[in-house]
Point group: C2
Chain length 149, copies 2
Amino acid sequence: MVRRLDDRATWLVGRAHLRSHRLLHEAFAEAGARPYHYRVLAALEESGPLSQADLGRLTDLDRSDVTTSLDALGRSGLTVREPDPAHRRRNRVSITEAGRAELLRLDAVLSGVQDRFLGPLSEPERVVFLDLAARLAGDGAPGGPGRSG
Amino acid sequence: MVRRLDDRATWLVGRAHLRSHRLLHEAFAEAGARPYHYRVLAALEESGPLSQADLGRLTDLDRSDVTTSLDALGRSGLTVREPDPAHRRRNRVSITEAGRAELLRLDAVLSGVQDRFLGPLSEPERVVFLDLAARLAGDGAPGGPGRSG
DNA sequence: CCTGATTGTTGGTCCGACCAACATTACATG
DNA sequence: CATGTAATGTTGGTCGGACCAACAATCAGG
């Protein structure tokens, strides 16, 4: 207990995130998955086939991390990379049927995690928290809206 | 924008933490300090001389991370390690005058970060958020309340 | 055509959060 | 007292997440 920390928003958010992250990581590990992979699967399922660059922008992943995630997901048959006929440098990434099934499975896992994470709050409090947290999340970009690099 | 993520508490907390962490890290780096070091200085100033193990428990740092933090802080003359006369295996760590001054300086930096981080919220909203976040932070221990190891 | 951006990949870095092992020392209990 | 168990500080790692730089290939605009 360090008083100087205990009322700092950055500290509290950090500790909350630590707990959230541990719950999430643990649950996903048990399910044989990883958070990055879930992000990718979710984006593909919701937006249809995408280039890796677009995938990165949607999921807030670096291009290089998209690459390695797709390597793993592809190895498990959850996604497919094909060359984009219109842009030969671009890949067209899609989710497979197995990927959709996996996503559903992970959706359930994630929901369980939410419940455990939000356990300390009542229903109305959860609603308030989600709103405030979303506003504090902002766009996260250091250089104002619409990062380009 | 991945809808499946945008209403998940874990995602929101993660993004909020990312923004918080970037602000904090940036500001501290500019001030020539690091978050771990601030934690240590704060604990020492508030609790007086401590063993490294106690320091770790107070700040939620691993013993090994306390060691390396104290190496750096000691090199800068902000803390002092002396052998504890009562327990020869134990070190008695204290903050120096320079350390106190540095802590004050970093307090100001931290306060600035809080303001920027909480910018999107009104004053009353901030109060609510701090309360909810503190409850979600819990004690962070994986094995139930009251970790002992 | 040439320049500048974009794409995917490789191979890193950095920080925070751990963990294991070890020698040393303290402590509880037989 | 002896003996085992716990705690301390240090070293040397691991892992995940979030990056960054550089490169070759390709596209898009002037």
